[in-house]
């Protein structure tokens, strides 16, 4: 591209670029339509032909819709997963844990799919919490559960960071109080005891002596934290028979500062810095022999990269499918036009020009492509919506499928390509002699 053109292009807003790109991709279809039908009214006859072969037409449109739907669904679903997982991780600027797998830690600390991990000591917590660039250092002590919902020990400041003001009730003020996630299985006023472990490995009754009262409920975050029950980290330590993070003279205190000498450990620490640059410095600083610091967003971006690679491979398959379907449908159309050849010959006998007959057949193909493509967009969105709902229900990550420019670019490119391909069956019709066809 010449520099002046690329400079101009780069200056445009992304939405304008997308719209122009769509127009560019759709232009061949539109221009072909205008050129083919210029001066004619072939729609009634095209409609008659579609109606005569309505079952075949419906089948063709559904075939196109399915192939387009797969392509649209793939793109929409990938984006929905990307956005949903990114939104769920948005508040987790930087996570520090014991060295190990970043992905395992991401799953455990951000998406609450816990696994057994070593704990960070009170000294490490103290270094992080005391760092001048750190605005918030919150322990995330996962591992317990109630009725299948994770029970996580943390601080009130973390709750405020994650979900802002409470939806109802108040913050916990006692080791026997808890704040429920938006869709947790307990409500304010309710009482429960936590079980040790989560899922299949749960040990019921291990913490039977410690009953929590729910005093507040968080706003919706669209993340697995919506199902979680948050309790003071001191309570998690207490129910495990450990020190409660505070020196005896501060007994009963909730939240920071913690006393390193009485800090039993935490599997992960969420670190939040006010300035973006500070995160990179902190990440470098706490990447050391005894700690691992990672950006959940960066790990997620790499996972998204893999997801994108898979989606791209599947998209190639979807495009191959679309082209095969288009070729199949157009071949089917050639066969249908043979069944319609007497009517087309009649038009020629009545004085219609060749180009008119060409226009009728092309309109039939274009209508199948257009209806199929529109149905396909709806089908793809519906499929992505259903899959999103299932994934949301299973993971509590809010995943919402929507349509965006890439899908419309795909559809415009498909429509343009097939509408140009549709010139072929229309041209094949022209090669047929009139009188033999007229005799039927």
């Amino acid at each position: 591209m010449p520099d002046i053109l690329s400079d101009w292009w780069n200056l445009l807003a992304p939405g304008v670029q997308d719209a122009l790109w769509f127009a560019l991709l759709f232009a061949p279809a539109l221009l072909t339509g205008v050129a083919v039908t210029r001066g004619y009214r072939p729609y009634g006859l095209a409609g008659a032909m579609l109606w005569r072969f309505r079952w075949a037409s419906l089948l063709f449109a559904l075939l196109i819709a399915t192939s387009i739907g797969i392509g649209v669904g793939l793109i929409a679903q990938e984006r929905a997963l990307r956005q949903g997982t990114a939104r769920a991780a948005e508040k987790f600027d930087l996570v520090v844990s014991a060295p190990g797998s970043e992905v395992t830690m991401l799953m455990a600390a951000v998406y609450l799919q816990p696994s057994d991990v070593p704990l960070l000591s009170g000294e490490i917590y103290d270094q992080i919490a005391g760092h001048p660039d750190v605005a918030l250092a919150a322990p995330i002590a996962f591992g317990d559960s109630h009725a299948g919902a994770p029970v996580v020990g943390t601080t009130q400041a973390f709750i405020a960071h994650l979900a802002g003001d409470l939806l109802e009730g108040r913050a916990f003020a006692d080791p026997r109080e808890a704040v429920a996630g938006f869709s947790a299985p307990v409500a304010p006023g309710g009482r429960f005891t936590a079980d040790h472990g989560i899922g299949d490995a749960v040990e019921q009754g291990a913490h039977a002596g410690h009953e929590y009262t729910v005093v507040g409920r968080m706003r919706r975050t669209g993340s697995p934290w919506d199902r979680a029950i948050l309790v003071p980290v001191e309570a998690v330590w207490a129910v495990h028979g450990l020190a409660d993070g505070h020196a005896p003279e501060n007994a009963g205190r909730l939240g920071p500062p913690f006393d390193p000498a009485y800090f039993p450990g935490t599997p992960a620490i969420l670190v939040h810095a006010e300035a973006l640059w500070a995160n990179y410095a902190l990440q470098s600083e706490f990447t050391r022999a005894d700690t691992m610091a990672f950006f959940p967003g960066a790990v997620l971006a790499r996972l998204h990269g893999l997801l994108g690679d898979v989606r791209r491979i599947m998209s190639v398959l979807a495009i191959v499918t679309q082209m095969l379907v288009a070729a199949g449908v157009l071949t089917g159309l050639v066969i249908l036009t043979r069944l319609f050849s007497r009517q087309l010959a009649l038009l020629r006998a009545l004085g219609a020009e060749r180009r008119f007959v060409f226009a009728v057949v092309w309109c039939v193909a274009a209508a199948l492509v257009a209806v199929g493509a529109l149905l396909g967009v709806a089908l793809g969105l519906a499929a992505a919506g259903i899959i999103s709902r299932i994934v949301s229900a299973r993971t509590e990550i809010l995943i919402e499928a929507s349509l965006a420019w890439p899908e419309f670019h795909l559809v415009a490119a498909f429509v343009s390509a097939t509408i140009l391909m549709a010139l072929m069956p229309a041209a094949i019709v022209l090669a047929r002699p009139v009188v033999p066809d007229l005799r039927g």
Partner: protein
């Protein structure tokens, strides 16, 4: 710019080498170190596009904290210190950073999906195996570093793990 005239990678490499040696003569600082700062494993990914990200490890063995504030380069038209962030739309974006600190006795890694030096307006493709120079700008002065061009999908310097 010299490399805009280059039509083949050999010519580009020659031009870059020329630029590098010319730059080295211009500067008093020894390439790669500056007042206790040492930069190793500078690398980028091969690309045909207009933008590249340079990553490296910065070590500060000096007695005072340093700030990386940006860079300069003859390879691109614009050089900036940026930080990666995943926005809520699930898109990775790089935002301009005013500076990043390199503490005395500490280390700072510029790495993929982290902080990086962004080169915009590349005039010629970067090919795997090429080398070029950029200048890192610290609050304490400038430093020339060699950047090696790795594979388009590389995740680290090909010599990473070696002890330089």
């Amino acid at each position: 710019m010299i490399h805009r005239l280059a039509v083949a990678s050999i010519a580009t490499a020659a031009a870059l080498t020329f630029a590098a040696s010319a730059a080295a003569e211009d500067h008093d600082h020894h390439v790669g170190t500056l007042q206790g700062l040492r930069v190793v494993h500078a690398w980028t990914r091969a690309t045909d596009g207009g933008t590249a990200y340079v990553f490296c490890d910065i070590e500060n063995s000096g007695a005072r904290d340093a700030q990386l504030v940006g860079g300069d380069s003859a390879v691109g038209s614009d050089t900036a210190l940026v930080g990666f962030r995943l926005n809520s739309a699930g898109e990775g974006v790089y935002e301009i950073l005013p500076s990043v600190p390199v503490k005395a006795g500490g280390k700072m890694a510029l790495m993929p999906e982290g902080a990086a030096i962004r080169l915009d307006g590349l005039g010629a493709p970067l090919k795997q195996g090429d080398e070029f120079e950029i200048e890192l700008e610290f609050d304490t002065g400038h430093m020339e570093i060699h950047v090696s061009v790795e594979a388009p999908n590389a995740r680290a310097h090909s010599h990473a793990g070696h002890d330089h």
